[in-house]
């Protein structure tokens, strides 16, 4: 009956309750939409970063990431790949990575030299989709290469030109070979457009005398499975006697700045969330306090009949929670609908930023909301409604029956 009583009390002044419910709903819907926009930007940034080139997880020989030498190749590539298959991972590829000096007709430049398996690479990263001129390296290619647009311009190269790459081979001796430029990548990312040359894995293997050895295995993983996959890889590769033969690095272990930036932005959003919650709480408290003051006489009667003060406080709290629940339900529907509609339509910011991706941000934002942000926001709104009832509930709990009965 306490639930019935609370609900009917909420409906007692329907207009006031509706205004409060609407205020909660608008606050929650706005928060959800903003989270959706925020998460849409962040998630696409993180996806773009991982899909562009680095993957979600990289597996190297221990110490390779900080000191990338070809002599630190993966101890057992087959073992790593068998484990990945066993773990149900389908998107992974092998690479050889080193540094090279690239010499064009007019100029030379230091680059990251990446040997990729043309068949597997396109299943794991989307670098091939960023080729603006020419094509990506293909199976059966000989000495072909793909350059970033800025590097190609700096070196004065166009499609079909030859590029000489010089790099230390596996034994530290200088190796050099000539590669034909077949594609130019324009991704909008400085680290790709400038400073990267991609060649077929087999060609680089031959040039550097790797004899099938690899330096990197790149894995793509859905965000929600990343931590479990990393833990399983660490356990599977480093957990049995050969401790720390491999390093298993998540994307943010290698490039922490983006995650830190996302965390910082999220922190700002939490501050904003707090401000909105304060407004919501003030609205709910106003309604519940007004409603409490109006019913002092009735509360006095209930106390006289034997209702304890804390039971009365619980009733006031429940009324507040009901307002919060109704507002949250409405806000949830409106907020998620907005996120869904704009996820489908996209929010085109190309006039503000450019028509291509910059800093891994897509020019068209597709809002999406992370489950944890959804739940935290929802729980916070409900908690704010509950906290807002504390003062009125406390007052109700401390009422003296006689004074309350005579309250007009």
């Amino acid at each position: 009956m306490i639930f019935q009583l609370a609900w009917r009390n909420v409906l007692r002044n329907a207009r006031r309750s509706l205004i409060t419910i609407a205020a909660i709903a608008i606050g929650l819907a706005a928060l959800l939409f903003l989270w959706g926009f925020n998460d849409g930007v962040h998630n696409s940034m993180m996806r773009n970063l991982q899909q562009a080139i680095i993957g979600s997880v990289q597996i190297h020989a221990d110490g390779y990431f900080r000191h990338p030498k070809l002599s630190r190749d993966l101890p057992d590539v087959q073992r790593v790949e068998d484990l990945l298959i066993k773990l149900g991972v389908q998107q992974y590829t092998r690479r050889i990575r080193t540094f090279a000096l690239a010499a064009g007709d007019d100029n030379s430049e230091g680059l990251v030299l990446l040997g990729v398996d043309p068949v597997r690479e396109v299943r794991v990263t989307n670098l091939h989709t960023k080729v603006s001129r020419g094509r990506f390296v293909s199976p059966g290619d000989g000495n072909t290469c793909v350059l970033g647009a800025t590097t190609a311009r700096n070196l004065g190269l166009t499609l079909g030109d030859d590029l000489v790459l010089l790099a230390a081979d596996r034994f530290g001796a200088l190796a050099a070979d000539r590669f034909t430029l077949v594609g130019i990548v324009e991704s909008g990312e400085m680290g790709i457009d400038r400073g990267l040359v991609v060649v077929p894995l087999a060609s680089l293997d031959a040039m550097l005398g790797m004899q099938g050895r690899m330096t990197d295995i790149i894995v793509q993983s859905p965000p929600d499975k990343l931590e479990a996959l990393t833990a399983a890889l660490k356990q599977g590769l480093n957990g049995q006697g050969d401790a720390h033969a491999y390093e298993i690095l998540r994307w943010y272990d290698m490039y922490p700045m983006m995650k830190q930036w996302v965390d910082l932005e999220n922190a700002f959003y939490y501050i904003f969330l707090g401000v909105v919650l304060l407004i919501v709480a003030a609205g709910v408290m106003n309604t519940v306090l007004m409603s409490t003051l109006e019913r002092m006489h009735e509360f006095g009667i209930m106390l006289a009949l034997g209702c304890g003060g804390w039971r009365l406080a619980a009733l006031v709290g429940l009324e507040s929670v009901l307002l919060g629940l109704a507002g949250s339900a409405l806000g949830l529907v409106v907020g998620l609908s907005l996120v869904g509609i704009f996820h489908h339509l996209g929010i085109d910011l190309s006039s503000q930023m450019d028509s291509i991706t910059r800093f891994y941000i897509n020019p068209v934002i597709h809002p999406e909301i992370d489950t944890d942000h959804l739940l935290i926001t929802l729980a916070s709104v409900l908690l704010a409604a509950l906290l807002a009832s504390l003062v009125p509930a406390w007052r109700a709990a401390r009422l003296q029956p006689v004074e309350a009965i005579h309250h007009v």
Partner: protein, 227 residues
Amino acid sequence: MALIEAVDIRKRYRSGEVEAQALNGVSLSVQAGAFTALAGPSGSGKTTLLNIIGTLDRPESGTLTVAGRDVLSLSAAERAAFRLSHIGFVFQAYNLIRVLTARENVAYVQQLQGVSAAERNAVADRLLAEVGLDGMGDRRPDQLSGGQQQRIAVARALATSPDIVLADEPTANLDSHTGESLMQLMQQLNETRGTTFLISSHDPLVLAHARQVVHLRDGLVQEDASA
């Protein structure tokens, strides 16, 4: 032993600089099963005494035993529990909870006791029938007349089978016919159920029905007369 034993009860009210002595050493004894009226003009202390006996208020001094309990030594929570088990209230202005139906109003006190919904609704329906409101359980207070609302208040007061029902000016808002009908009902319930009634009123109608009349004046018992 008397159901209510009040000895030398004193109570002052202070309003700003003004202090008023509401009860000036009242002693009162009410036996179980009594049908007693507290009579006296406005300001004589009837309601104050009723509130103190009902554990809604506390005196400055004196001793008070209700149903064998020293109620002045109880904490606020204990007093609430005591009221719930031992005392029923009927107020001048009916004071039903207006968002609840007649049945729910009567059942409310049993809900506070943790009685199951089925049981308390059955008790409420039976009591409503007993006070002449059979079939009106689903009506809200604003759909009922003053007399009907006061009957619901009586049914509510009896729902927990209390030792005593305290009624404060129960006929004050009723016309004489309805008031007479209500008094007959309370008298009948007193006789059939054995519930003690202590009724504060200056309505001659109430005094005519009472078997014991305690006259208060200026916070003192002037006369304690039994019919």
